[in-house]
């Protein structure tokens, strides 16, 4: 899976006449291994452990690249910073965010998706993406 993602990135890079660098590899590796929904700052921390010379701007630029190449998905849970998840990790899912401890539970409900599509059609709307976040308290924080 790891190597598959490197392949996807390298394909994208070659197709767009871009270059593969040590930094991009390092960031991609850290991104694949770290847990989902990393913030830029968190990823920067992880990458810095192994490649201390990498700058924050490079993390930003590489995450933008990963997003364009389809490897990463940009998320925003309204806490003022972007978070990213690997689109290869799991299929599409939505999120329950515990407002107490920050835990994120992923879920997917086919019927919810179905009714979204249904109501969109009723409004002459063509969905390209959606986002559903439930906020509240998880088991441990009740």
């Amino acid at each position: 899976m790891n190597s598959k993602q490197i392949e996807v990135l390298e394909n994208y890079i070659t197709e767009h006449k871009l270059k593969i660098t040590k930094q991009r590899r390092a960031i991609l590796n850290a991104f694949i291994e770290c847990e989902n929904h990393v913030s830029v700052e968190e990823l920067y921390g992880i990458v810095s452990e192994q490649e201390p010379k990498i700058g924050l701007a490079t993390i930003y630029r590489t995450l933008a690249l990963l997003t364009k190449s389809g490897l990463a998905l940009e998320m925003d849970f309204g806490d003022g910073q972007k978070r990213y998840e690997s689109s290869y990790m799991n299929a599409h899912h939505d999120h329950m965010v515990c407002t107490e401890c920050g835990k994120i539970i992923e879920f997917n409900h086919p019927l919810i998706e179905k009714y979204q599509e249904e109501i969109a059609i009723q409004n002459g709307f063509k969905i390209t993406s959606h986002k559903l976040d439930l906020f509240g308290h998880c088991n441990d924080c009740l």
Copy 2:
């Protein structure tokens, strides 16, 4: 409806030993009359027409006040700025956002709400709020 909201605000203000000011009235009025999903900057523009001396910081502070008093709801459509809607205008609803022209269609689907609740319970999660945004293209932008 207008007067009802002023009442709500004045109640909140009195209860919290705060003060009613010309600025707060002006901002509340503009907020009630303008269309839903205003950004801070937009509201600032509208308010400035009638009260040119009002500062941007006051808009921010008053919108925070309106949110705390339950009159306004804070939204974030991922465009990098907060937007607000009046919670008295309509009942709860979700949004379809046209990524082409920015149009926002409001909708509500009881079954979607029901299945959200259902899957939350399955995960031992207690929902306090949720947000569902569909992104795509509206009728005019296909």
